[in-house]
């Protein structure tokens, strides 16, 4: 199906120049198996070209080229809905290609809950531009004014029904050659038939039957298998390798060493695993990590490189001095791992000086730049191709596995597939950094909040490319700064206190290579803010919902909280409840306006706390969310359910453990996550606003979970949990010291 561009001709439309040539219709599988040239110059990927996003073949099939990729969230289906709706074609006629640097526009990393909000809206506008051009062309061909034409299932008809022409006939095997028109008229949401519907995901049947090709399933002809052998300690130097230790491993091709980068390549996957296990290596000692038991002292003692003031209203510090009552609290959130079920995997092939790299990267366009820099080759000689792998929830090890595969493939001059082992993923994926926040608030004599002052301690750096492990170990060019994501988001608060100051102290170092994990910073900061807000409500004896409404001057936020009260059957009272027996129950409420700019979420958690064992059982979550226009309500619910479940796991159980040299939580026994019997029920109420912009949903509902649980535990047993994870030992200690 990889048709070569055969001709180029020009077609004058009605006032629009349609420059066209026949486009290849590609499927991922075909592409993958054909071993494409790394530098395909046959297709535009320019963000202002309609052809970068869309192609229509002569039979009316539509190909969507998306720079945003489906990380298991269902956006492939949602983006298809957007295109099918805007073009008025059947869903089944739209095929999606994602994250291929030769074919898809660079729409930015698939992160930050922006795939629909930003990427989808670029795609919608491209489709609207295409539709407009097709209608103009149809008007010309049919001799009917465009306003008298309607589109049904990819066919343009006159309203009388007398004349018709299909998109396939209009496009005639050519391309649009149109600039994306930001003013192209969009369909009226009132006429939507596909957007807003719970369309079943098109990837799911294949995933349920073993027919789906994940990254981990992908092969190219002549491919070898690689495994990495990581340093014994994070900062170890490679002192020696005894290659005779693996000489008996069948099919061993090569032990690859470059600086501190070490790997093995074998004919079979099992051979590579055996070689990696048996290889005798001497590493230097290194003990550069802080003591885990003194992590927070370490964080406080770390050099502050700068302060980011994220909000400053009135004059918080003097106001605190004048307060009738002051409250102080310190919250912290442990180091976390992404915890993907499938360890990261990639395949690299270097042919005729050109590199093709298949990976599950969130950002193949950016990875392409990193790989080119690592090998000091022009990026035009590198092609990055996305294949869906295990869910990543941020920047996990996918990009690092790609770099590993590239170095191994270069060393053996054959295509190499690398899959990390479990300990590689848990040990070497970049981590969510330790997060610490000091909060102070002042109340006047009548219980009004007059001041709020928070100070956050998080690593410096923001968004960008996380350095590649292989490049660093091998001493090849790589980024040097820290890239934790935009972790100061949601330090500022949605409440209208007269004096507010929120400051982020940006730290010059952090123990582990940081990166973003789902709702980076927003999850931790909302934990601190919304738990402390609950402390204030309790201090003045107010109902937590009523207390928030007192200080909320945002109609959509107020709507949301009122709807939450009804949905969760919230009964107004102060917290904590009267004390019960050994097993106490409680409920906690929380609220976020994501980044103070978009998706609103409110939640109520119901918990049981066993005073003796310290165990918390999260029984139920009620979540109300307003993300504007909903593309696929079932997809949105799936994301909310996932956010709640994953974050309950983070809050109750998860903490990366380490000694002075290395991560020690290297599997699911030492880094346990939530199991089926422990999961809460989740009920979701989505506020649909079809005429509003669609906002992101992949992260926001993660942000509300920690504080909802902390507040519910306070309601149950009257103690504040200010340190994630809320392990039984911490709960017991909090109860005993209360």
């Amino acid at each position: 199906m990889f048709a070569k561009p055969s001709r180029r001709d020009f077609l004058k439309g009605t006032g629009i120049l349609l420059v066209s040539f026949s486009l290849p219709t590609l499927s991922k599988t075909t592409l993958a198996q054909s071993g494409p040239p790394a530098n395909t110059k046959t297709k535009t990927v320019a963000l202002d070209d309609v052809d970068a996003f869309l192609a229509i073949d002569p039979s009316g099939g539509v190909t969507l080229y998306s720079g945003k990729v489906d990380l298991g969230t269902g956006i492939g289906t949602a983006l298809t809905q957007i295109v099918a709706e805007e073009l008025d074609v059947p869903l089944a006629r739209v095929h999606v290609i994602e994250g291929d640097t030769a074919l898809t526009p660079a729409q930015g990393k698939t992160w930050g809950s922006l795939s629909i909000q930003n990427g989808g809206m670029q795609i919608r506008q491209a489709a609207a531009t295409a539709r407009h051009a097709l209608l103009q062309e149809a008007a010309k061909r049919l001799g009917v004014p465009a306003e008298d034409l309607v589109v049904e299932e990819g066919t343009v008809r006159s309203r009388s029904g007398a004349k018709q022409v299909s998109y396939g006939e209009l496009i005639g095997g050519k391309t649009f050659s149109l600039k994306l028109d930001k003013q192209a008229p969009l369909k009226d949401p009132a006429s939507y038939k596909i957007v807003g519907q719970p369309v079943p995901r098109f990837d799911i049947p294949g995933k349920m039957t073993g027919q789906f090709t994940y990254m981990q399933d992908f092969k190219v002809p002549g491919m070898l298998h690689g495994r990495v052998v990581r340093p014994a300690s994070i900062g170890s130097t490679l002192l020696g390798v005894d290659e005779s230790s693996v000489k008996d491993v069948p099919g061993l091709v090569k032990v690859v060493r470059q600086g501190n980068f070490l790997g093995v390549v074998a004919e079979s996957e099992w051979g590579a695993i055996r070689a990696a296990q048996k290889l005798k290596v001497t590493w230097s000692n290194w003990e550069g990590l802080p003591e885990q038991s003194k992590l927070w002292e370490y964080v406080r003692a770390t050099k502050v490189s700068k302060d980011d003031v994220t909000s400053n209203v009135g004059n918080a510090e003097p106001a605190l001095e004048q307060a009738a009552k002051r409250l102080n609290a310190t919250y912290n959130f442990a180091v976390h791992t992404h915890g993907s079920m499938g360890p990261s995997c990639a395949v690299a092939e270097i042919k005729d000086g050109k590199l093709s790299c298949w990976s599950s990267s969130q950002a193949t366009h950016d990875l392409r730049q990193q790989l080119a820099a690592m090998l000091s080759m022009p990026d035009t000689d590198v092609r990055g191709i996305y294949l869906e792998g295990s869910g990543c929830y941020g920047r996990n090890g996918h990009e690092d596995a790609a770099a590993d595969a590239v170095l191994l493939a270069r060393a053996v001059e054959r295509p190499v597939r690398v899959q990390w082992m479990r300990a590689d993923e848990h040990g070497w994926d970049p981590k969510g950094p330790p997060t610490l926040m000091d909060l102070q608030a002042g109340l006047d004599a009548t219980g009004n909040v007059i001041a709020w002052y928070s100070q956050l301690y998080v690593p410096e750096g923001a968004i960008g490319n996380v350095k590649l492990v292989a490049a660093e170990l091998a001493g090849l060019p790589h980024e040097t700064g820290m890239v934790p994501g935009n972790v100061i988001q949601n330090t500022a608060i949605p409440y209208t206190f007269p004096n507010v100051r929120t400051v982020a102290h940006r730290l010059a170092e952090t123990p582990f290579r940081p990166s973003w994990i789902r709702a980076p910073g927003r999850m931790q900061n909302t934990f601190c803010n919304e738990s402390f807000m609950d402390e204030l409500a309790a201090a003045v004896g107010a109902d937590p919902l009523e207390f928030r409404l007192r200080y909320l001057n945002d109609p959509r936020g107020v709507d949301l909280l009122k709807r939450l009260a009804s949905f969760a059957q919230w009964q107004s009272r102060k917290s904590p409840k009267q004390k019960g027996g050994d097993v106490a129950t409680g409920r906690g409420l929380t609220y976020v306006k994501y980044e103070l700019a978009r998706t609103y979420v409110g939640a109520v958690a119901d918990v049981e706390v066993n005073r003796k064992s310290g165990e918390i059982r999260v029984k139920h979550f009620a979540v109300v969310q307003d993300c504007g226009q909903i593309i696929n309500p079932d997809g949105v619910k799936n994301q909310v359910e996932g956010n709640v479940t994953q974050t309950v796991s983070r809050v109750l159980k998860e903490e990366v453990t380490f000694d002075r040299s290395r991560v020690t939580s290297l599997n699911w026994a030492s880094y346990p996550i939530l199991t089926f019997p422990e999961m809460p029920d989740v009920d979701i109420d989505l506020i649909d606003r079809p005429t509003e912009k669609p906002w992101g949903v992949g992260e926001p509902s993660a942000a509300v979970v920690p504080s909802a649980i902390s507040n519910a535990v306070f309601d149950a047993v009257g103690v504040r949990l200010r340190s994630v994870p809320f392990t039984p030992a911490r709960v017991r200690a909090a109860i005993e010291s209360a």
């Binding site: 079943p200 079920m341 295990s390 799936n638 699911w668």
Partner: protein, 140 residues
């Protein structure tokens, strides 16, 4: 098919020698369940099952359980409940649930959760998975 190491886990024979995609490598430690297959109808972790232990037992993978044209009731129920996000763990969920339902036709929610307690999911699709198993038990 010939292999040179009888200690090689079954998973690699299924994936690399036979080219199957259903069973997946998750941990290699028998902790997560992504690699689950049926050996004589019993759900086992193929990542820690050496080939030498397979003998003449009948192996069924996700592909053998049902096909897109002839879905197993559990697969059908998982599709109807849209019980996946990334789906990497789903092989294990379906294989474990199918083996469980073969011996417990009308399980309670708690029994389903207990049956799946050693199958891990990171996307948080648990609620849908339980609904899907219930649906399969109820005959779709």
């Amino acid at each position: 098919m010939t292999v040179d190491d009888p200690d090689m886990p079954l998973l690699y024979a299924l994936r690399d020698n036979l080219g199957l995609h259903g069973p997946r490598f998750g941990c290699g430690l028998g902790q997560c369940g992504s690699c689950t297959v049926h050996l004589d109808g019993r759900a086992v972790r193929s990542c820690v099952t050496p080939l030498s232990a397979v003998g003449k037992k009948k192996i069924v993978t996700l592909e053998g359980l049902g096909t897109p044209d002839k879905l197993h009731p559990v697969q059908k129920a998982f599709i109807e409940e849209q019980a996946a996000q990334c789906g990497y763990c789903i092989n294990g969920m379906i294989m474990e649930a199918a083996a469980f339902l073969a011996s417990n036709k009308r399980p309670s929610d708690d029994q389903i959760k207990q049956a799946l307690t050693h199958n891990l999911c990171r996307c948080g699709t648990h609620l849908r998975i339980v609904r899907a198993v219930k649906r399969a038990a109820a005959g779709g």
